[in-house]
């Protein structure tokens, strides 16, 4: 096992798992169908990829793409592979990899919590960050919440409604609320006394 990772050799060793390709910006990546995920994952585990690092879900209009990163500590050239799959939006389920890498536990729960992907076979598929009774999945693109602040990128003109509001604040007369007027008076008296 303690030898350099070699693409051609790897393909001979695990022909069923699909083709590992070199992707720009990522490195080695292996894209598989959803039904083949478990098989590809166990193939990678056997090939020496023993450290599960994360799973990232990306929400697209029709599907959620999942990207896993697994690392091999046994290979001399210390290599990692991105394992990719895709689940449809109307049935966002995929096999859990906890049975292969126990470290996938919290990462899959996180993806369930924020993106609503159900990992079948996970021992405890529950929300991890958000409260248990939370409605919706925050990292979905259609998730609506008034508290989300979208920052201006400086390229668009400011919306007219906001400008009006700002003017309204400026023209409002400064007024000390009645309840506070006594305190203000007292403070001023104290100043003059000293």
């Amino acid at each position: 096992m303690n030898e350099e990772f070699n693409l051609e050799k790897q393909e001979k060793e695990m022909p069923e798992q699909g083709k590992i390709v070199l992707e720009d910006g990522l490195g080695y990546a292996l894209s598989v169908e959803r039904k083949d995920l478990l098989k590809a994952a166990s193939g990678l585990k056997e090939a020496g990829f023993d450290l599960f690092q994360f799973v990232a879900g990306v929400d697209y209009p029709d599907s959620i793409k999942l990207t896993y990163r697994v690392f091999s500590s046994k290979r001399k050239n210390q290599i990692a592979v991105f394992l990719k799959t895709e689940v449809p939006k109307d049935d966002p389920t995929v096999d859990s990899l906890v049975s292969i890498w126990p470290a996938a536990d919290w990462h899959e729960r996180e993806t369930f919590d924020l993106l609503g992907v159900d990992f079948v076979g996970h021992p405890n598929m529950s929300r991890i960050f958000m409260p248990g009774d939370w409605v919706g999945y925050p990292l979905r693109k259609d998730y609506a919440d008034d508290r989300i602040i979208v920052m201006d990128d400086g390229k668009k003109e400011k919306p007219a409604a906001k400008v009006e509001k700002a003017e309204a604040v400026e023209t409002a007369p400064e007024k000390v609320p009645e309840a506070h007027q006594e305190q203000v008076q007292e403070a001023e008296d104290a100043k003059t006394d000293s």
Partner: protein, 398 residues
């Protein structure tokens, strides 16, 4: 390093103290003459030993912890969602608030990934500045770790020494960017400003001072009899288990796995710098603590070489607008942060804002290993094991 080994293996004379240390580490053995039943104890979320807002339910049988159920999310701000509503540059200050004990390295991991995504070249001087401040940050973070590890075993004196040194680092950081905790110093394509006059000389003076203090404090804390008795052999973890449960960083290296991104997936100018990847053997509490002391020394070596090699020149790539549109695509970048493998996975759809930012925080992965690591140990040792994982909750919850 040899000095540390010496301290660890040296015998401590107990003559005349009337202490029997032969019966130690028999956690898990049941005593039949005491009636006991399992208790569930709530720990946190506000607890001095929790290093942040961590809640766990400990199931204890007498003094032995039989089950740990961590509950996280008390500091969840969903930075990943916030990132989707910010431009690439606007998100940099948010990364400071993840692992707030080593903000510089968070900045670095993020800008490194965006640079990879947009294909931006960083000037050489900026790379060296990043290495110097990044390693200073690692030292500062490890000093905080050693401080808390000491305080948790009752050693309050080293606190003063370690925090004094950390204060010097914060002063240096204040010099480069004006802030002492959340720096926002890195920029896409470089750093925000060049180093002030005389800063490198000040850093050299500091390194000399730190070397002296580290030698002293190694004796004071890591060579301390009580500290050694509390830590050596307690809550060990094998390399196989560490990998299985996804440990990274110093905690994984303490189990003997030489996984350091500065060597495994070199970035910046690390290939030009000579340093060793520190490893230990047992991943017990003592190894997880003392490896930080080793790493501080390696970081000092790195900074010394970087100061020798640093060239003159610009500190920021030219022609990068504040708002820019990287081509559609995806990129993954990671750095060796103080706590392990800190990675960013960014997907761009060709607009001014990222389509998706996934943050891989090392504390999240490390904390997950706590139940597997500590179940079956004494309660007091579990608290130390939790401390030696060096978890920062800003990063766990993000």
């Amino acid at each position: 390093m040899s000095k540390l080994e010496e301290i660890k293996t040296s015998e401590v004379s107990l003559d005349g103290l009337g202490v029997d240390i032969s019966s130690n580490g028999d956690a898990g053995e049941s005593r039949t003459d005491i009636r006991s039943e399992e208790l569930a104890i709530n720990f946190g979320p506000q607890h001095p030993s929790a290093h942040g807002v961590f809640r766990a339910i400990f199931h204890v049988d007498g003094e032995v912890v039989t089950k740990i159920e961590p509950k996280i999310g008390y500091l969840h701000r969903c930075f990943e969602k916030i990132a989707e509503n910010r431009t690439y540059t606007q998100f940099i200050p948010y990364t400071d608030r993840m692992d707030y004990v080593s903000s510089m390295l968070n900045n670095w991991a993020y800008v490194l990934t965006v640079e990879k995504l947009a294909g931006i070249e960083v000037p050489e001087r900026a790379e060296y500045i990043r290495v110097i401040v990044g390693e200073l940050q690692r030292i500062a973070s490890h000093l905080v770790f050693l401080t808390t590890a000491g305080v948790e075993t009752g050693a309050v004196t080293p606190y003063m020494y370690y925090f004094d040194e950390r204060e010097q680092i914060l002063n240096l950081f204040e010099g480069v960017c004006g802030a002492r905790l959340t720096y926002n110093y890195m920029r896409i394509g470089g750093v925000s400003a060049d180093l002030p006059d005389g800063w490198l000389e000040d850093t050299k003076v500091f390194l000399k001072r730190l070397a002296k203090t580290m030698d002293e404090t190694d004796k004071l804390l890591l060579g301390n009899y009580i500290f050694k008795k509390r830590m050596i052999g307690m809550v060990p973890f094998t390399a196989e288990d560490a990998l299985k449960w996804g440990l990274t960083g110093p905690s994984l290296r303490a189990a003997g796995v030489p996984y350091d991104i500065r060597k495994a997936d070199p970035y910046s100018v690390y290939p030009r710098i000579d340093f060793d990847v520190c490893t230990r053997f047992n991943c017990d509490n003592y190894d997880r603590a003392s490896i930080r002391s080793d790493e501080i020394r390696q970081s000092m070596r790195i900074i010394e070489q970087a100061i020798e090699q640093i060239p003159d020149g610009p500190v920021k790539a030219e022609g990068i607008p504040k708002v820019f549109k990287p081509a559609a695509g995806e990129a993954y970048g990671h750095v060796e942060a103080s706590r392990g493998d800190l990675g960013f996975y960014i997907v761009s759809d060709g607009t001014t804002k990222p389509y998706r930012v996934k943050i891989q925080g090392p504390s999240f992965g490390n904390l997950q290993a706590l139940p597997a690591m500590a179940e079956g140990s004494y309660f007091g040792d579990v608290i130390l094991a939790f401390g030696t994982l060096d978890t920062v909750f800003g990063e766990v919850d993000r």
